[in-house]
Amino acid sequence: MNPELRALYQEMILDHGKRPRHFGAPEHYTHKMDAYNPLCGDHLTLYATITDGEIKDLHFEGSGCAISVASASMMCEEAEGKQCDAADDLYHQFQDLVTGKAEAEGMSRLDVLAGVKAFPSRVKCATLAWHALDHVLTGKSEETVTTE
């Protein structure tokens, strides 16, 4: 496989795309946010439980391409348990990573999504769930996030 393509579809991404973690609607949550990319029809719903400024639980459901599902899955793994301001920092770091503004370092497993930056048309896939998280963290919780 072409190395650029291999960098985009790393094993971990294919794995999370096929078997997403933190998948499914939890019984209880404090925040719910829809994220929709009308261009490709990707539609994710993020469920968060936030108490005392900490993300206690983070789940999602929906359908999308391997990149958007894997990114959502890995985001839930990484952001759950974090303080809200730390999660917001992570959101901005991730944005910089996939748009090529920052090098892949120190973001642990999220680094595997850095390959997206070579595919401008796919950056929106990688950031879809993250926009939903940002809206939850910044209190814009009444609307559907779209990437358009």
């Binding site: 496989m1 579809y9 009308p38 490709c40 029809g41 539609h43 595919f119």
Partner: protein, 415 residues
């Protein structure tokens, strides 16, 4: 014009045909380009590129004004293109050919006119569930402005319009029926003769969105007896930013003006203005002259190929694609109408169309992945999106095989 077209086997000549398309001769990600996104836009033959280049190199001037030589040449070139387009679709008169930016602007022109003059509260506009957004949204706006209702004829699970439903939904208040000749998302060829006949019998005007038909099927607007027929230059081997609205003279004379300004007037004073005759009253502002000239060259190109040869060639390509699709586990074709142009819309088990599109790109294969500006069609089939390979005169059986080899790799990667 179609009667004059030669019949021959295009497949035998496809290599020499490909020589006429410079863009095809390149590598993408180290692989020979296999361009299968023709329903989005077709590539341009050298003759079209040359016509545009020649216009800017030798004849460029504004049209319909100025007595100088260049202006006269520019006007002649543009008006010659109008004649070619009239011949292509067998319009009764050249004045019935309006240059627009494309199909979208053509439909907006008609929808705007209907909303202003011919639609009122309780009236109905009938479209189908197969339409491109360009033949939905202008009518929604027209209905919003006029108080008319938008009525939608259903499609079945093959992607055919349910003709009985179309017939049943034509009512006394149906002022216009607007439907595609060919579906962009699925490739279905609609029975437009029958649909136009039914609509006329119900007293409705008929607009046909011909964007996906014009490069693939002969069109005779007099035989169809449609009131409007819209198409784009760039989907028929011509330039972008130029298209055509055909309208029956009796309709164009009644339709209120759309955009206003220069070129479309006869006299202007501050007490009021009078408007130019057809076709110019619908062509406000300096038109896309070079685009029109290029479109004229594209009509020549189509005439040289001949629709019999084009249809036979594209049918052979689609047949090979269908056969290979049958052998591909986990592949589902979306749109299985009996009559189709060369469009293969598909989904694969466990692989999102966007991932398919990215993978195929790295094999040099250009397809479209998404909802194809036809979200209601996607909803009908219960998919968020499809991958779509769409064929044109320069595609080959070998290219279809490259496509399916690449699809096999996608399946293995995501298995």
């Amino acid at each position: 014009m179609t009667a004059q077209l030669r019949t021959r086997t295009l497949a035998r000549d496809v290599e020499s045909l490909r020589e006429q398309f410079p863009v095809l001769h390149q590598e993408v990600h180290g692989r020979p380009l296999v361009y299968l996104d023709n329903a989005a836009t077709t590539q341009k033959p050298q003759s079209v590129i040359n016509a545009v280049s020649h216009f800017y190199s030798h004849d460029n001037a504004n049209v319909h004004r100025g007595v100088h030589a260049l202006s006269e040449r520019a006007t002649e070139s543009m008006e010659a293109a109008r004649d070619k387009l009239a011949a292509l679709i067998n319009a009764a008169a050249r004045e019935e050919i309006i240059f627009t930016r494309g199909t979208t602007e053509a439909i907006n022109l008609v929808a705007h006119g209907f909303a202003t003059e011919f639609l009122g509260p309780g009236d109905e506009v009938l479209i189908t569930a197969l339409e491109h957004h360009a033949n939905i949204v202008p009518w929604q706006e027209a209905c919003k402005r006029s108080g008319a209702h938008l009525v939608v004829a259903e499609i079945d699970d093959h992607g055919d319009v349910v003709l009985d439903d179309f017939r049943a939904k034509l009512g006394k208040r149906t002022r216009i029926a607007a439907f595609s000749h060919v579906s962009n998302a699925l490739g279905t060829i609609n029975p437009v003769d029958e649909m136009a006949r039914l609509a006329r019998a119900a007293g409705a005007a008929v607009l046909i969105d011909g964007a996906q038909a014009i490069a693939h099927l002969p069109v005779d607007v007099q035989a169809l007896d449609c009131d409007f027929y819209a198409f784009s230059g760039h989907k028929m081997y011509g330039p972008t930013g130029i298209g055509t609205l055909y309208g029956k003279r009796e309709w164009l004379e009644r339709l209120p003006v759309y955009q206003t300004g220069g070129d479309m007037i006869r006299t202007v004073s501050f007490d009021g203005s009078t408007y130019a005759d057809l076709p110019h009253r619908f062509e406000a502002g300096t038109p896309n002259i070079a685009g029109a000239v290029g479109l004229g060259a594209a009509v020549d190109f189509l005439a040289q190929q001949g629709f019999d040869a084009l249809i036979a060639h594209e049918a052979a390509i689609l047949a090979r694609a269908n056969a290979l699709a049958d052998e591909t586990p986990g592949m589902r074709i979306i749109g299985t109408a009996a009559r189709k142009v060369g469009v293969l819309s598909f989904v694969l088990d466990n692989v999102h169309p966007h991932d398919i599109g990215t993978f195929l790109d790295f094999e040099g294969v250009a397809v479209r992945a998404g909802h194809h500006c036809a979200m209601p069609v996607m909803k009908h089939f219960g998919v968020p999106a499809t991958a779509r390979a769409s064929f044109a005169c320069y595609n080959t059986i070998e290219e279809v095989e490259v496509l399916f080899n690449a699809i096999d790799q996608v399946r293995r990667t995501f298995a």
